[in-house]
Symmetry: C2
Subunit: 272 residues, 2 copies
Amino acid sequence: MTFQEKLDKITKKNNSLLCVGLDTDLKKILTHLQGRENAQFEFNRAIIDATHDLVCAYKPNSAFYEADGQEGIKQLKLTCDYLRQKHPEIVIVIDAKRGDIGNTNEGYVRYVFDYLGSDAITIHPYLGQEAIKPFLARPEKGAIILCQTSNPGAGEFQNLKVNGKELYKIVAENVARDWNTNGNCLLVVSATYPKEVAEVRKIAGEMTFLVPGIGAQGGNVEQTVKAGLNAKKTGMIINAGRSIIYASQGADFAKKAREETEKLKDEINKYR
Amino acid sequence: MTFQEKLDKITKKNNSLLCVGLDTDLKKILTHLQGRENAQFEFNRAIIDATHDLVCAYKPNSAFYEADGQEGIKQLKLTCDYLRQKHPEIVIVIDAKRGDIGNTNEGYVRYVFDYLGSDAITIHPYLGQEAIKPFLARPEKGAIILCQTSNPGAGEFQNLKVNGKELYKIVAENVARDWNTNGNCLLVVSATYPKEVAEVRKIAGEMTFLVPGIGAQGGNVEQTVKAGLNAKKTGMIINAGRSIIYASQGADFAKKAREETEKLKDEINKYR
């Protein structure tokens, strides 16, 4: 099964474009979990158990686990293993924002695809297609290229004009035209820049977007969905992290996370 | 002590601009080490013991360790711990090529600076200065920004012209002008593109360059050194990995690594 087929299937089954970002920060999770073994995993499992029928994907950001070294990597691995065993139909995106020369990227491929067993990874475009080939070579794995990122200072390079056209559009063009021979490329475009999402949609045809910036980062749902949908009314994985997983700091955190997930899923679907 | 002070001190003490890349691939190391516990670390320790008086820095690339998940991170941590205990004066660069939004970069800061205890990290520029601030905020740690990378396809975006000027030059200009308020920024420029190294030197003043591409990647030593030196005849950390650490596949690998290190150190110094 290709990456896109897996994504299409779960998007349809759960009627959801929503992805929950498992950016689990030990300092922000419940006091009663903090002292326990595998606290990050236990937190993630509770979130997954409460939300798995409402999402198309989960997206752990590797940084929140690497922060604790070996122990953190263990928590991320436990989370991915649990997802693959209990919910093999749900897409796992590792938000790792990697990108090295080709020979070295083989190591990252082993980390995210073979060791963690994830379905997709986020990738920096700066080294070009030639370097990124180890990621592009596997049709069953998604290669999600950073295009227009969500941060306030994203424009420093991404909005520079090359022959009158912004760099993020050149990235989108090159990915759509040359990089996507296996049909497994996606682009990161951000809900904090809905006008740019619409511009990238014009360039990228039916290609799926990974869309951060909803929730804590302030992106507008209606504008983003309308700007980003493809002709099939899909083509988006819309991520929300902190606004869902920290919806409550109390013992009801999983229940509140479900409520937020359901609310956001329905709001997204209202504009499809 | 600032990062630059630490680097200047060891560069002078060992009279060396050379950095050994600890890109240790389990499949390429000695058969008699492979079965052993901590084989990657044992290999690195032998290389370090044989070369520590000839170098200014060691640069493990995180990908070669992440490839094995938790176990690999343990090997990298053991290597960094050993370096800090036995040779605290030598600079440790973690080649991790990270770059996320600000909130998330805090996790990478904890991984490379606090957990591994390294002195510097390589960073993607695509998200701009605003995102990279958690790395820039620590004057005792080097923030090494990718500018002109060593791979054959580097030019796909890096050589695109913005108002007649290549993107890699804009990256160098922005870093030199705005990002370096703590004096802890460095730039990656590659020995495989010596003309570009000279161009970046014109832009970057006395700033130190991390220079990959010597050895297995084919960069020319004389051209690179002449193009990259600053006014003090330093300003470069020149990395060689595979050509040193795999100089021999036999039981004499550490001895051969020392010979290659000495030869390359001397060749670099010949052109200073």
